[in-house]
Symmetry: C2
Subunit: 223 residues, 2 copies
């Protein structure tokens, strides 16, 4: 497969000015990865990149408009709100061919402070992404990792990342990326069919956060 023997691995974070994308970009930059922040607004992306650069001196962080970031990335993270996923993917589709696309999107709605998972016709945001991008390797991951914790450099983020994909080698590549962030552990979540449960779990964790005034994450025990 195309991925084998690939040395360079630029990580692009589309929607990387939002909390989850920003937090992940920071952690990967701190881990020594080259990172590009994407945004609809190139200037906002560059501002975020500069702000992250201050938190991670010596790291390689740049910012650009989403389609340029998609082009530059070898592995491309999708970290927009669900409502923005489809338009974004349709816009950048041509730049994602034969690339690993990491879908971080959890389709949620919040009413009176309570989160709930919204129904997605294709089953999950990740399944929908794979439908839109038949020539990309979609991998669902990182939904349950607290953005609020990621964005504080060197704060211990001690959770498990369930990784789901229908493509084995891309799934293993992303599991390897998870291991680059200290204290995170990847758990093989089998096929993309399972991404639904991981995405929806985010709603439960947000509701638990409200009760406990905490930033909860999960661990899978017994594996």
């Amino acid at each position: 497969m195309l991925l084998s023997g690939k040395r360079h691995n630029m990580l692009a974070f589309l929607g990387g000015t939002g909390p989850e994308g920003k937090g992940l970009a920071l952690r990967f930059a701190l881990a020594g990865e080259e990172v590009v922040i994407g945004s609809r607004d190139g200037n906002r992306a560059r501002e975020t990149a500069e702000a992250l650069q201050e938190l991670a001196p010596g790291a390689a962080i740049s910012g650009d408009e989403n389609s340029v970031a998609a082009q530059r990335g070898d592995t491309v993270f999708i970290a927009v709100p669900y409502v923005g996923q489809k338009p974004l993917l349709e816009q950048v589709e041509e730049h994602l061919t034969a690339k690993v696309v990491v879908d971080v999107v959890a389709p949620l709605a919040v009413t009176k402070g309570r989160a709930r998972a919204v129904t997605v016709e294709d089953g999950s945001a990740a399944m929908e992404a794979q439908q839109i991008l038949p020539d990309s390797y979609v991998v669902a991951a990182f939904h349950n990792i607290s953005a609020a914790e990621l964005v504080i450099p060197h704060k211990v983020v001690d959770g498990d990342v369930v990784v789901c994909s229908d493509h084995q080698e891309p799934k293993e590549l992303v599991m390897g990326l998870v291991r680059k962030i200290k204290d995170l552990r990847p758990v093989d979540g089998d096929g993309l069919e399972n991404a639904k449960y991981v995405e929806q779990l985010t709603a439960l964790l947000l509701n638990i956060n409200r009760i406990y005034k905490a930033h909860s994450m999960i661990k899978i025990v017994g594996v």
Copy 2:
């Protein structure tokens, strides 16, 4: 509310001859609770009670037909396969009035070794149970705890039990019951609306079990 000051607390396990009900009944019996196993077939219930009694000498375990068990229980666990839940609840409804009903049911289907959550019109098995039993206090709990581990006496079962209900005092009662089983910890999962995520998560855990040849459970970290 009715529950306050209640001293006696007989636990009934309808569908208690199945793996999850049997495992929970055993653990509660070992914790000193009085337990009655219910089954469609009263003789099978009594056989299971006798088998559990051998694993928990000195414990108070009996068996009876589901409707008798429902009548005897102060707190009644529903541990049947989802397909059997509605007929069972309609059969025993009159015996569940003003009682705490602990719904353990995860609506699942298994195809070619892979589990998936089946869609429930009311949102979840627990929401459906509350619809059928408007005069009972439905609490969803214990879905993610491995039956295979529960049923081995004294084996450490080190997981979290997310407990969801729209009734605060019954929810706290069930959280207290969770604490009676060594190493299990209750986590307040807010309203019954969230039971959906906990029920569906069972499918993910079963698929993870298949990959890792393990009995996985979850922990909520950060709370």
